[in-house]
Amino acid sequence: MVINSIIARAAAALPLIGIVLALANWNARPDAAWAWAAAIVMFVVMLIARHRTQLAFRRSATDAQWVRSVASVAGAVVVGALMMIIPLALTLAHAYGLVDDPDSGRRATMIIFGAYLAATGNALPRMLPPMSSMACDGARVQAFQRLAGWTWALCGLGFATAWLLLPIDGAEVVSSALTVAAMVVTIVQLLRLRKPRQRAPGLN
């Protein structure tokens, strides 16, 4: 509950901080105005999405599914805003000579993206649909979600580590290869799920 409250506050504050950072970057580097304008538009979209979800939630506040939906929208806004705020802050710091590496913003974005992939992969095996609604048997769905979870968690960790430790060129190659490999594994497993349903023994 406390975490949800922190996430809700962060979802309200972070896009505003992002807009301020984008404006500061615009002021420091007017040559890339289109990029800062795009960033501002994305932060505004985040604010609107959060605001509309809150409005809808107030109308049906008792519904547990709505509570989960609002929490997931707030979580997505926080992750999305952080993925943009950290590089914006590093780019601004570089513009004012506080950071030497011109690629630090890109590196930070990729590390956060890798961490996001790992966190999503970690949670994937828990997101099982109700057994009664499954089109194929529970054992196969469970096996698929476990494999997909491990695949994306390891891919995310490898992705983040590559962008943390390797030179930019190497990190690009390694992270792309990891992502493609994870996608292939997931798609192959997904296709295997399409075989006709076989009931596991002991299940009604």
């Binding site: 970690n122 095996p125 828990r126 009664s132 054992a139």
Partner: protein, 109 residues
């Protein structure tokens, strides 16, 4: 997280999780793999459910249990298996046994 560590500290509960890795199973099917009383098994299922490692779904008169472990929790289970965390099988405390004996057997028709 404390509940997860508590749940993983018992070898019987770890074995239940390993069995559920293969496929969802009914309470009776799971209990058949262990030489302990059904109330004790119910207590183990309750601990695992409280830790959010398994969930149950009613199907007719049977309760089906299935795994809902995150990747991190599964890695912790692997560590627990490798390094043999917690108590030996069958050494449940008297308090646990008494609590378990009071509960009805869940999922048994």
């Amino acid at each position: 997280m404390n509940k997860v560590f508590k749940a993983l500290s018992d070898p019987t509960r770890r074995r239940v999780l390993q069995l559920l890795r293969e496929r969802p199973m009914s309470a009776g099917e799971l209990a058949d793999h262990f030489a302990v009383s059904k109330p004790t098994m119910s207590a183990h299922f309750a601990v695992l459910q409280e830790a959010g490692l398994i969930e149950s779904e009613k199907s007719g008169r049977t309760v089906i249990y299935r795994l809902v472990m995150s990747v991190l929790e599964e890695a912790l289970l692997g560590f627990a298996q490798t390094f043999g965390w917690g108590v030996e099988p069958g050494s449940a405390t008297r308090v646990n046994r008494t609590k378990a004996a009071r509960r009805p057997v869940k999922g048994e028709a």
